[in-house]
Amino acid sequence: MNKSPAKKWLIQGLFFLVLVAVFAFAGHNVSMQLKVRGISSGFDFLQNQAGFGIAFHLIPYSETSSLGRVFLVGAVNTLFVSIISIVFASVIGLIIALFRMSPLPVLRAIGATYVETLRNIPLLLQFFVWYFAVLRQLPMPLESWRIGKSIYLNIRGLYLPFPEDAAAVWMVIAALIVGLTLGHVARALARGQRVRSGRTPLWNWVPFTLPLLFPVLALLYLRSRVTFTVPYLEGFNYSGGAQIIPELIAAIAALSLYTASFIAEIIRGAVGAVSKHQTEAALALGLKPRQVLVQIIFPQAMGHILPPLTSQYLNLIKNSSLAAAIAFPELVLLFAGTSLNVSGQAVEIMMMTLGFYLVVSLCLSALINLYQARVLRYERR
């Protein structure tokens, strides 16, 4: 079945020559075209002043910032909207999956309608519906809806109280991370002791309190520094606090609800793939239904869930670029759109934009593969 070595080398040599020829042709044309248009190649343009404003940025930015800064703002915004949407999409997807597996026909019908409707309509249309049809119905600032004590929703967006001292907030978050890590370690210790002695240790509940205990202690310690600025009506608009622009709300709503329909199907398929004898055996052993779900069904379903779930997360990150169509300042709009128009450096800008998505995709796949290797350790082979 094997080709002779000479033939192999001949084919590959030809392939290589064709590749080189194509790239040389394209490269030559690009340099000619750039000469005609008077554009110099290279990445020096990243130092140029941007000269345009950005409606939403998480890192400091002004019109005098550089185009390199614009790239960072776009990248951070893309990651921000993606991460929030991933969290929402996973939660909503799980809920819809539970609906679809419910013994109540009404809930099953709602779940099925949700999935079949949302995944068969283009995502861009859903962005438009949220942005141009739903959020435009919101009241003007003077008639804002108030949620709780000081959260306001109007046509200009959602206004939230915001911590004044960023350092204090970071310390609380750091405390949460420390608590989570220690809790994780302690849980592993408790588990080890349970496996060794065959008895659940008395302090089994302690690890679960750590992620809560540390931030609470940090809050108590920093209580004088954790203060919030509250939005208040000033003239015809709200000032103070944090404003979440409608473009961001629409993007998160569209992305998470759309992706949730795919995630729901993944979860349902995976739970369906776990043999029902597993459930019967677990019930026969006297496990409670909740234990059966959490300890028997979900761990086995996890192996079927993770690979397709990862590709859904990757799709979501890529799909976040659709927010460009409703003018949410994410990477494609800011960099491949506005910055390209300002500087004309098409080749460099497209390479950087595509490179960003490629790097993010590769990193996320690598992370999930690591996690999966850990999860699958427990799976029976």
Partner: protein
Amino acid sequence: MSVVNAKIGAKQSLLQKSINAVLLLILAGLLFPVFKWAIIDAQWAGTDRCTGDGACWVFIKLRLMTFMFGFYETEELWRPSLVLALWAIAIATLFRSTYSRGLKILPAVIVLLPLLSWGLLDGRWFGLPHVETTRWGGLLLSLMITLMGLSLAFPLGLLLALGRMSDLPLIKAGSVAFVELWRGVPLIAVLFMSSVMLPLVLPPGTELDKLIRVLVGVALFTSAYLAEVIRAGLRGVPSGQAEAAAALGLMGWQRLFLVVLPQALRSVIPSLVNSFISLFKDTSLVMIVGMFDLLGTVQQANTDPYWLGYSTEGYLFAGLVYWAMCFTLSRFSMKLEQAR
């Protein structure tokens, strides 16, 4: 836990039945206003803006032709209709003929039909009045981009799939890099790139139609996804098939084209239908680079200052068209899957 009960097929309790009934009532109460707005109070007749509280379907009725065909000359509408009919006949023939005959027709369909459609719609090749690609639009444009894009992408995807399975390291690496590159980036960025970069990589002075640029971008992007679909099919063919063919004295290309590939392609037909669905949904992105596909024409109609305030009807219509096509096709794909 309900999921657990459902899994072992437990009967519904009386409590569950009553919760079900209550939920049904609440749902009906929530859906009734929607029904009232869309059907009972809706205005269907007329040629001007509506006055009532209900949905204004007049808006859709007046622009139906634009949503279907874009700004194509009205006297020439037989041409796009003929093109769509030709595609429908070709696809129906493909699915109705026996598999081995379908495999013989397929190359003709994906080479000739795109050219014929382009010739008919553009007109110049057949001595018909010229209609610029900027006037093609609506559902016609969405379908044309999907069908032509898939036709262009299929041969490339097939080559990439074979390249990725190849035992020649350079060809394998090239295919893997190409496929992973396109699968790792969003289609919008690809469309931006094809509309900005494609003119740059061609010799100065070459003018490329915007639709062609979009088609190239769509085809490159889709070929990577098709390559993975076809590769899954190739991997599913037992290696004994190729070995048996080799034992019978078939040459390398005969083994591939007469034994392995026919079996591989047959098993991926449902996935190919799914690729069609996702590409059809994705064609809505071309409006971002300034083309007027179905969603593009609807969005344009929604921003018409005289008809402001009917965007809900517009989106509902577009959504219904997309949904009907995608849902039907996905059911069809499921049926194909089960028939195997």
